[in-house]
């Protein structure tokens, strides 16, 4: 693998890592634990939808979902290489990892585009 696209993918990885580090804990805590367990009152469908309709929120959500996916793709790819010594499968793994992230990104974009 030459310098090639790596710097770009690494930038996505870093940006995603930073977003995830800053924002995921609170989102996860609220929507995965606090709301389902009733510790805090969850916002209603309408108010959420209201929020999401705002273009800034949509932009926010786009990055919030897609960049961490690329963060995962990049990091997981190397974890597979190193942790399982799978360097010989490099192309396959790369295609799978970044491919998934790309699909996730497209679906996110499509969904956000179609917010009623």
């Amino acid at each position: 693998m030459t310098g090639g696209k790596t710097p770009f993918l690494w930038t996505l990885f870093s940006a995603g890592g930073t977003l995830a580090a800053l924002l995921f804990p609170v989102h996860l805590f609220l929507s995965g634990l606090a709301f389902p367990l009733g510790w805090l009152e969850a916002p209603s469908h309408d108010s959420l939808l209201n929020l999401v309709q705002h273009p800034l929120t949509r932009l926010y959500l786009f990055f919030l979902i897609s960049l961490p996916l690329f963060h995962w793709a990049h990091r997981f790819r190397y974890t597979l290489y190193d942790g399982l010594k799978l360097k010989h499968l490099t192309t396959l793994i790369a295609v799978l990892c970044y491919g998934c992230a790309l699909i996730g990104t497209v679906v996110t974009a499509y969904t956000l585009w179609n917010v009623p």
């Binding site: 030459t2 310098g3 790596t6 710097p7 690494w10 930038t11």
Partner: protein, 253 residues
């Protein structure tokens, strides 16, 4: 010597032996050495070599943590044996092995020719378009400019960071922490203009992008060089360059 509290009079060392003429694999051999409070592991090894078994081989010279020759694994961690006090490993036995991930030449001696090739590859010297004649005096460099690269110039080439970096173990081609830190040392030196040449080399195969920021290199470094930091900063520069060259292809010379 002197009066001391109750301390173990001796300490056991389990030392790697590998004699290629006789055996095809390394084995561990145990030795007893006297315990002294001010002894380092290297002192115990020297005691063994002098008094017990003259055939034990290892490298050392300065005994003050600056020549970089006495790196070994002490209880599984890369250490300068001249700076690893026996008292920190009591009650023993202390396992002393050759640096991890390097081929073993003999006993505690590893082969490090690989590193020397890599070092040369990153052009660790001041690159200039034109040398300034000596008659014009020194290149000015303020203490602040010196401070920018100083830390990375402290590397004693002891190889502990390589023995700590699993990526080097998995991927022996990886240029590795110390060599990259030294490349960065020259990149950041206000007298040097070789950064682009080095980046071309190091953004290629086996360069900075191999590193996954395990960070162990920095933890074991006896001279606080922080190779992990050097590499990440280098990646940032590499990425910036990439964007520049893609977005402004005409902007590069």
């Amino acid at each position: 010597m002197g009066s001391r509290e109750k301390l173990p009079p001796t300490v056991t060392l389990a030392v790697t032996r590998y004699r290629p003429e006789e055996e095809s694999e390394p084995t561990l051999q145990t030795y007893e050495a006297p315990y002294r409070k001010d002894w380092v592991v290297l002192d115990a090894l020297n005691y063994i070599k002098d008094k017990v078994d003259g055939s034990l081989s290892f490298r050392w010279s300065c005994r003050m943590g600056v020549c970089g020759s006495c790196g070994m694994m002490v209880n599984g961690e890369p250490k300068l044996t001249c700076a690893a006090f026996l008292s920190d490993y009591l009650p023993g036995p202390i396992r002393v092995e050759p640096l991890q991930f390097f081929p073993i030449v003999r006993d505690l001696v590893v082969d490090m020719t690989d590193f020397l090739h890599k070092l040369k590859k990153v052009k660790p010297w001041v690159v200039r378009e034109e040398e300034r004649p000596l008659s014009e005096g020194e290149y000015r460099q303020t203490p602040e400019q010196l401070d920018i690269y100083k830390q990375f110039s402290m590397c004693i080439n002891c190889m502990l960071c390589y023995a700590a970096c699993p990526i080097y173990g998995l991927e022996p081609g990886f240029v590795g922490p110390a060599a990259i830190a030294l490349a960065q040392r020259y990149n950041l030196d206000s007298r040097d203009i070789g950064a682009q040449e080095r980046l071309d080399i190091l953004s290629g195969k086996d360069g900075i992008w191999e590193c996954t920021f395990v960070g162990e290199c920095t933890k074991v470094c006896p001279k606080n060089v922080d190779p992990a930091g050097a590499i990440q900063q280098y990646k940032l520069t590499g990425a910036a360059h990439w964007f520049k060259s893609v977005l402004l292809p005409w902007g590069r010379k």
